[in-house]
Assembly symmetry: C2
Homo-oligomer: 290 residues x 2
């Protein structure tokens, strides 16, 4: 079989992934898992894609400026979570779902990452694209369980990651159904209904995926409950923690650049639970797609 | 092609269904819809299954008795929605999702419908089973968008209706993630988080299905927004309203037997919008599976 993980250096995480996939897909193995139960869940920001800056916040800053209410990344950082929520209310509410979808598509078609000078759709991790494809080719269903907004992500991410829009779950605001001038429409409100992080991730998995995963990948303490939930599967399972160690090619950090969530708990749990920590600097031959 | 709708009498709804499926699956037709957009949504109670009594309330009454807090259908009826919610809190909360799933499976494996003296899994409508299969065979993805509880329905309905558990959406309560004695678990709380009826149905479709349907079927005014949302699809769409006219073989009513929701608005909209009204007495040769 040709190597589908060519952007992964030989080493422990790659070997563990290949061994896991071989075992659960081998119908002669005691660890065989039927296709219907081969469910994999991935955090997005920092796990599948660069999160410095958050793509969604870059969009929100651009849209705030367009709406005549500009703010800066520095103001956001000093304002913390309340400032972020206020920005999201301004830029993600009082707009129909169709209009919002169009606004995101327009922005992401033109915006460039400030450091890498490439579209945000290409600041996703090439090794993770290869992992998604490997899993799909082996009968897995991949779901993205993001702390980011569902509507924002669905406007661009399904195509990039090769999944159906419904396989992307995230945070969401209040929505109203109304009969507008052009017919029925869904109006996005300004209130946050579900913040899909921490303990909400396994809850969202229960509600949307309706099955316990056998593979989970994350990168911060906000992904710990999702990884724990997966690790308690009755099947053999695989847990991956992406560790940002590559300041040259990406960023080296252990604390989320904006919201301050850390990695202490998830790295400790990985050590305890024999989960695989992916060292971006040493385990990945390539970070971004060519 | 063999007739897959053998339990439907020849007549308008059957002809409309067959014409619709032929048109949207014919790649030479101007009305062709690619497979990925062939999404069909179905209400459950009263549309796919008998709702007198609601299967879920029959379970709740049985479980309340088991918990030493018996109540009767008559008491529920006089107490209205508050009494129903109190019963649901008692019987659907303070239990893990795994335990609840097992409790539903045990009950539904033994319970019988009081009038038809058959398992509730067989008081589903044979013509609708045939419609679901016809659509699936023609590249549609079927979703159930029920006012009933997601966890209750997923314990038994996916197998009966031939869909994956995640394709069944309904009402849900608050859920908590916790590390219990046996490891991570999801504990069902006692509060209702989402009542999946009326305007919530198109909102849930947006969140879970992530696409606008081209076929919707319902039976009460609570299904009107879902039908309107579907009817406004840019594609050709089909809207079905199941009308309970058969007191001999099922029940004849225009007002929901317990909660009092009516059919006036949905029948008026059907007349206005040229939606298909399915007259159970005259359009169905058979009601329940043999």
């Amino acid at each position: 079989m040709p190597d589908q993980l060519t952007s992964w250096n030989d080493g422990s995480p790659k070997a563990v992934i290949l061994d896991f996939v071989a075992a659960v897909t081998d119908s002669g193995s005691r660890e065989f898992v039927p296709e219907v139960a081969r469910v994999a869940v991935f955090d997005n920001d920092g796990t599948l894609a660069c999160e410095n800056p958050y793509t969604q916040l870059a969009f929100a800053l651009a849209r705030a400026a367009e709406l005549g209410r500009p703010t800066t990344a520095e103001e956001l950082k000093s304002g913390g979570l309340p400032a972020v929520l206020e920005l999201l209310e301004l830029t993600h509410g009082s707009i129909t779902t169709d209009e919002f979808d169009a606004a995101v598509k327009t922005w992401i078609g033109a915006a460039q990452h400030p450091r890498f000078a490439r579209p945000y759709t290409t600041t996703v991790y090439q090794p993770m694209l290869e992992l998604l494809a490997l899993l799909q080719d082996n009968g897995f269903t991949n779901w993205i369980v993001s702390g980011g907004g569902t509507d924002f992500m669905r406007a661009w991410a399904p195509e990039i990651f090769g999944i159906a829009p419904h396989q992307l779950i995230g945070s969401s605001g209040n929505v109203m159904f109304q009969i507008g001038d052009a017919g029925p429409e869904l109006l996005k409100g300004t209130g946050l209904a579900i913040l899909d992080d921490g303990p909400q991730k396994p809850i969202s998995i229960h509600q949307y995926v309706a099955q316990r995963p056998i593979l989970a990948a994350g990168n911060t303490d906000g992904d710990l409950p999702m990884l724990q939930w997966t690790a308690a599967s009755p099947h053999r399972s695989l847990e991956l923690v992406i560790h940002h160690t590559d300041g040259d090619r990406e960023f080296a950090y252990d604390t989320d650049p904006l919201l301050g969530s850390g990695t202490g708990k998830v790295l400790a749990a990985a050590a305890d639970g024999k989960w695989s920590v992916v060292d971006m600097a040493s385990d990945w031959a390539v970070v971004f797609p060519a």
